[in-house]
Amino acid sequence: MKSATFRIWRGNAEGGEFKDYSTEISEGMVVLDAVLQIQAAEANDLAVRWNCKAGKCGSCSAEVNGNPRLMCMTRMDTVPTDQPITIEPMQTFPSIRDLVTDVSWNFKVKQGIPPFTPRPADAPDGTWRMQQRDVNRVQEFRKCIECFLCQDVCHVLRDHRKHGEFIGPRFLVYAAALEMHPLDVADRVEALAEADGIGYCNITKCCTKVCPEEITITDNALIPLKERVVDRLYDPISKLLRLFR
């Protein structure tokens, strides 16, 4: 068995430092296995969030050698072990301790988006009819496991800290899933343009690249939403028509 060195950030909002830990690497191991091994052996108080260890819950988001990743889905054989492997918390959110960040902002943002509002039922028994081809797109968005890696990598949030003005890719996908839901009748277009700040997104596709669920965030969610905003609010003819309404 070979061993590897992990350079893990230890600290809290007041500050901290990287500490080196060495641990054995066995076949098939993922980064999270190594971190939990270190925690059990020599750093019992190491703070790390995780749950399913199967890429389904989106808890163990961190930056592995600078790349936003789910630690449970990052195989050790994809990471070079001839030099220390750096593991640090997501940079877009405030630190709580070690690898754990304060992601509560995300929960607040979601609360502000108007919830699912269905049209009246199609059938007398209170049910609806939807074709599979009409829900494929929404189902793609609903694969989201809320790991917030897309939020972490988005430069509007990460570098420009526009948390108050821009809801970030995760919640644009959430809004898209509602807007494109065949049953939903609520209207979120004006809010997307104003409070949600969709204009800040300049489609660099960083979010799409890091999505562990491989949701085509930019092409399938953000651009169509931007088009809806433009069609409604900036199209000269409909603007004119609105004046006479």
């Binding site: 809290n12 066995s26 076949e27 098939g28 191991m29 993922v30 296995d33 925690q39 059990a40 052996a41 019992n44 108080d45 190491l46 703070a47 790390v48 969030r49 995780w50 749950n51 399913c52 260890k53 199967a54 890429g55 389904k56 819950c57 989106g58 808890s59 889905m73 195989r75 709580i96 301790r97 070690d98 754990v100 992601v103 929960f107 979601k110 609360q111 919830p115 699912f116 269905p118 039922a121 209170g126 049910t127 609806w128 009819r129 939807m130 074709q131 599979q132 829900v135 929404v138 189902q139 609903r142 694969k143 496991i145 809320e146 509602l178 839901h181 049953l183 939903d184």
Partner: protein, 608 residues
């Protein structure tokens, strides 16, 4: 509480109903209680939306009859009872079968997007032990769809959510439960939740075993909290070992491979390429099971005349057949058997695409974690600890435990599943009984005053919780790992008396060590401290499982005794009840299974 008496620092929260756990059952309970116009607090160990429900894959069982209109609640009821070897609480099985369709439709009204039938209704798939295609699903990520739908609906219902908060003990005023004492994981501050009614929805106990599909959260908190508060636990000997967990590489051992793989036509084979599930079909299921490969395939493709393939027998049976193959030297390279879905390409021209569409997260999981392409190669699988049928004994209609004011729903409650749970019956269980627990807890809260918090109890628990910081010695992880090894090796899928007695001795020693563990660092998000505080709960549930398993001297459902092979008619009429007695010791009591009303007996007879 008077401030003068208070020496420990803690915050107090007042709610009418406190729900502990925010998986499917907890969220559904909180939504229902909130709809009844009472104030609701929801406490969960992780972030909202990360609970174990998120890992459920296959679907939720409900006799909607969208794919096969012969289905009805009575058939679902009979299937559930047969699967549970008639140890189930029949009233719970009746309510569950009757109400599940409404609960599924309700999820759609709250925004869930299930896969569709050609005529645009909710699609249903085949699953083990279900006579007709019955599982409403979204590919193989149904649990995510369910928890996200409940979460996104729930956050607009005025529920106070306390995330990353772990309950240490329930608070009582006389016989009644009137709240809970907890700490927040983030800062390690103590919290008093004062409530008129409390709903436990904490899930299972899988972390008592080494090989498990369950996450760190599954430490039996609800079971242990209820037991310590004086509530009865029942059926604790029945633990479901899911037949198909990953076995290779070692670090992913135990991660779930959905039964949906077999529902879509996947077959189990040993190293000799033999479909061993045809070798042993239990009498209860002979009429309903295909006797050749072609009929089994036709069933999975919707042929209503065909009977289901033996791979879709109940989980307890399939798991045992796999153990038999491995023990007798016919296992796979890494000690499992082969699960092959790739073979369906022989039958379907678009086979590979079909597999990716129907089982996307399985495709992903094997590709990423094991470097296996399931559209081209067989998977290696073996049993993994998955679910506990046993739990808090509750009233079927109200979900109240034997302690007034304390309710339980979902995996931590018992009764619905008897000796073995059918796949797909868990998600529907969460919704049906989560809703009932929320409704009746709200009613209870309206009819009772708040009661008084016993400050001495709170201070005592807080002091004990902080003791590990003052100690020196071994850390909590080693104790946890040794307990998991003990349960895995001595109280696992194949059991015998002498091994389980050895396990009892081990648990007693481990409990003493757990009481002396030391933690380093401070109270901020300290994983070692959290693990130390989970240990007493794990010890309690491990002891309960072991004592009940020693007591039941027969093999039934998920409980398999090598020294008592076969079912025993006398035991068919007995539920085992575990409770704490006056001197603090654990007692196992035999009680008769509740009588089956004539009309339900008739339904079972008609569906033989």
């Amino acid at each position: 509480m008077t401030a003068a008496k208070q020496t420990m620092d803690y915050q107090t929260h007042e709610h009418d109903v406190l729900v502990i756990g925010a998986g499917g059952a907890g969220l559904r309970a909180a939504i229902e209680a909130s709809a009844a116009d009472v104030s609701v607090g929801l406490v969960c160990k992780s972030l909202l939306g990360k609970a174990h429900t998120v890992m459920a894959e296959g679907g939720m069982a409900a006799s909607l009859g969208n794919v096969d209109d012969r289905d009805a609640w009575s058939v679902h009821f009979a299937d559930t009872m047969r699967g549970g070897q008639y140890m189930n609480n029949a009233r719970m099985a009746e309510l569950h079968a009757k109400e599940a369709p409404d609960r599924v439709r309700e999820l759609e009204a709250w925004g869930a997007v299930f896969d569709r039938t050609p005529d645009g209704r909710i699609l249903q798939r085949n699953f083990g032990g279900h006579k007709y295609p019955r599982l409403a699903h979204v590919g193989d990520r149904t649990g995510l769809e369910m928890i996200r739908t409940l979460q996104d609906h729930g956050i607009h219902q005025g529920i106070d959510v306390h995330m990353e908060c772990t309950v240490l003990t329930l608070l009582k005023d006389g016989e009644r439960v009137i709240g809970a004492f907890a700490y927040d994981r983030e800062r390690g501050r103590f919290q008093v939740f004062h409530a008129r009614a409390v709903v436990l929805a904490t899930g299972g106990i899988g972390k008592a075993f080494r090989i498990t599909s369950n996450s760190w959260e599954y430490t039996g908190d609800g079971h242990a909290l209820a037991y310590d508060a004086g509530a009865d636990l029942i059926d604790m000997e029945f633990i479901q070992f899911h037949p198909t967990g990953m076995v290779w590489p070692p670090s992913v051992r135990g991660i779930l491979v959905t039964e949906g793989v077999r529902g879509e036509g996947g077959v189990l084979k040993n190293k000799d390429d033999h479909r061993f599930m045809f070798d042993d079909i239990p009498d209860l299921y002979k009429n309903q099971t295909a006797d050749n490969e072609d009929e089994g395939w036709r069933y999975t493709q919707g042929d209503k005349e065909a009977r289901r393939p033996p791979e879709l027998l109940t989980r307890d049976h399939v798991a045992r057949c796999i153990v038999r193959e491995v023990r007798e030297g016919r296992g796979s390279e890494h000690g499992g058997v082969y699960l092959d879905i790739a073979w369906i390409k022989e039958r379907l021209s678009n086979g590979a695409e079909h597999i990716k569409k129907k089982l996307p997260s399985m495709y992903h999981q094997f590709k990423q974690l094991a470097s296996i392409d399931i559209t081209a190669e067989a998977m290696e699988v073996g049993p993994t600890t998955h679910y506990v049928m046993g739990g808090v004994r509750v009233d079927a209609d109200t979900q109240m435990s034997s302690v007034p004011g304390l309710f339980a729903a979902g995996e931590c409650a018992a009764g619905l599943h008897g000796a073995n749970r059918l796949g797909g019956n868990s998600l529907s269980d969460l919704l049906v009984f989560g809703r009932r627990a929320g409704e009746y807890a709200a009613t209870f809260a309206k009819e009772h005053d708040a009661g008084a918090v016993n400050t001495d109890q709170v201070e005592g628990v807080a002091r004990r919780a902080l003791e590990p910081f003052a100690r020196e010695g071994e850390g909590p992880y080693k104790v946890q790992q040794e307990l998991q090894g003990t349960m895995q090796d001595l109280v696992g899928i194949v059991r015998q008396d002498d091994e389980m007695r050895r396990a009892l001795d081990e648990i007693a020693k481990l409990r003493e060590r757990a009481d002396r563990v030391a933690v380093i660092g401070n109270r901020e998000y300290n994983a070692g401290w959290h693990t130390a505080l989970d240990l007493p709960h794990l010890m309690t549930v491990s002891e309960a499982v072991t004592r009940a398993a020693i007591e039941r001297q027969e093999s039934r459902g998920a409980h398999f005794r090598e020294d008592h092979l076969g079912k025993d008619e006398a035991w068919a009429k007995i539920n085992l009840v575990v409770r704490k007695v006056g001197d603090g010791s654990m007692q196992v009591v035999r009680e008769p299974v509740p009588a089956l009303p004539a009309e339900l007996a008739k339904i079972i007879e008609e569906n033989r």
